[in-house]
């Protein structure tokens, strides 16, 4: 991969993701105030001591935004990694074992995908107690259906290619074939898919938090911050728009990188749907 061949849009995306990750990693050093510290009047305008103003309880919006990056990115990342692990293991198992196992997994996957993700999450979260790990688990399981579909397609696709056949005839072991032949050739589409799922996880988590079913207060998280400040909108207070814009920016940046990765591997088509 040549550094010069990376388009500007992808650089913008990479820069944006880097900023968000820096904010998340060094939140206590970057934030001027504490996450739950009430420092001023409610809904103070931006500028002056509080760069982005204060929120519905008088907490500094910028500080909460920086701490929120931590929660939002961490939870979304955890859910994505988990969904990938789950989807990949199951899909490779299905592709390798074939037959009854493949049928069982695939049909069950079809059934899961027949229910809209948000509706499914609403039904499940209505029953389960509200814990962070339950939220991550629900997001991961719902997301893994998409990973399963892609993973199975890719695995079946690559396993029958000539170079794999050639490696087999050369007498290479299965570990060599998986790591030196199949994995490098599936890395790009899988990486793109990972980015896509990550962007989707961010949006999904924010949506759930916005609906009051995601991360519970007083922990700062971007979707929840929109929910906290939404009543200010009618008075012309833009506090709810700031975290909303942060979500949008991060998702756009991830998508820009994904778009570039996708173009590099346009031969292997991946599904982009995420309803």
């Amino acid at each position: 991969m040549n550094v010069k061949s990376i388009p500007i849009s992808a650089w913008v995306g990479i820069a944006g993701i880097a900023i968000a990750i820096l904010c998340a990693a060094f939140a206590p050093f970057l934030a001027p105030f504490g996450e739950r510290e009430i420092v001023g009047e409610i809904w103070m305008p931006a500028g002056g001591e509080f760069l982005l103003g204060t929120d519905n309880l008088g907490r500094d919006l910028l500080s909460r935004l920086i701490y929120g990056a931590r929660t939002t990115i961490l939870v979304a990342l955890a859910a994505t990694v988990l969904s990938f692990a789950l989807g990949m293991v199951l899909s490779f198992a299905a592709a390798v074992m074939g037959g009854f196992v493949d049928q069982l997994f695939s049909r069950f996957n079809d059934l899961m995908m027949a229910i809209p993700t948000l509706i499914f999450a609403l039904v499940v979260l209505a029953v389960l107690p509200q814990h962070l790990w339950i939220l991550i688990l629900v997001m991961a399981v719902l997301d893994s259906t998409r990973v399963f579909r892609i993973g199975r397609a890719v695995a079946l696709d690559v396993a029958v290619m000539e170079f794999v056949e050639a490696a087999r005839l050369r007498g290479e072991g299965s570990i060599w074939i998986i790591f030196r032949e199949i994995l490098p050739n599936t890395l790009s589409p899988l990486l793109a898919e990972f980015g896509l799922r990550f962007a989707f996880s961010i949006l999904f988590l924010s949506t759930l938090s916005f609906l009051g079913l995601g991360i519970q207060p007083p922990a700062a998280d971007w979707g929840g911050m929109v929910k906290d400040n939404k009543d200010g909108i009618i008075f012309g207070i833009s506090a709810a728009l700031v975290p909303g814009a942060a979500i949008a920016m991060l998702a756009i940046c991830v998508n820009l990188v994904v778009d570039w990765l996708m173009k590099r591997t346009s031969s292997l088509k991946g599904g982009r749907g995420d309803a």
Partner: protein, 370 residues
Amino acid sequence: MTSGPMAGPVPTDETAREIDARSTDLSGVPANPTAAVAMGDIGGTFWRRFVFRRPLAALILKRLGLSVGLLFAVSLMISGGIEALPGDFATTYLGQSATPQAVENIRRDLGLDRPWSERYLSWLGGAVTGDFGTSWASKQSVSEQIGKRLGNSLFLAFFAALVSVPLAVGLGMVAVQFRNRMPDKIINVISLAAISLPEFFVGYLLIMVFAVEWGVATFPATVYDGMAFTDRLSAIALPVATLVLVVLAHMMRMTRAAILNVMSSAYVETAELKGLSTFRIIARHAAPNAVAPVINVVALNLAYLVVGVVVVEVVFVYPGMGQYMVDAVTVRDMPVVQACGLIFAAFYIFLNMAADILAILANPRLRHPR
């Protein structure tokens, strides 16, 4: 429909797979393929003759049956899943400090002391006849509430579709015509950004600009019975705009991809080599073949629209199904959650089915799968 006609299937690979797929959905065990082939060999059954005479109708019937089966499986999953998951409603409902006697009473009140299968069957029986029971929180009939709110939600979704579909297809065509040139690139970047915007952000941004700053739109989007049609339209202007923005980018990108797929085929290359103009190639050669995928794209996105309605309704405080469901989820009002979940899933499944059937109708090649 799922059981009757399946008695004598045609012994092709495709039908065998279809049957296999469906019965797995229904019962969890694959159908016995040898039995299916044997029955097919005997032949002469009603279904076999029907398939022979009306292959198209048979295909559509089969797809319809699959959807009904899927919906049944979903209902089982919603109900069974809720049952299998931990958490006792009576305790959640009354709080931690409830006495065992009170918990027992409420369990009996809500019918939770009956076995699950019995409750599921009575719920399903009610759901089929349009009776979803009573809400735990408000003690009102769920069907009555849904009857009112479903209309509102469909009203919203209908106008969003009315605006977004022509716009998306048009923009998709423009993007294809100027492929890899400036207009295409601009559309590409903007639509990529639009995909990444959360629904609530778009919604609040529109409220901020149009309702608060300029005062040209109304917020919240309240509608009530006996409201004049034009008032209703102006009330839903912002929610519709939000939905359009959210669904437009998806639909446009998929339209573009579908048309580009056709454009990269050999006969389009031939037309190019013959020296035909770009417009003529699109209109005469590519478009007829792209109709099927585009219709598919539209139907899929309408299914997405049904779900997008949930968040938009919460943002705009619009009295529809989505808001009803979200409210019910926060207070754990299970009959309402189940009913709304089933109805949303039903719309989603049947729109997906419509996408498949329309694709079969528009593209004869799909009628004869390998």
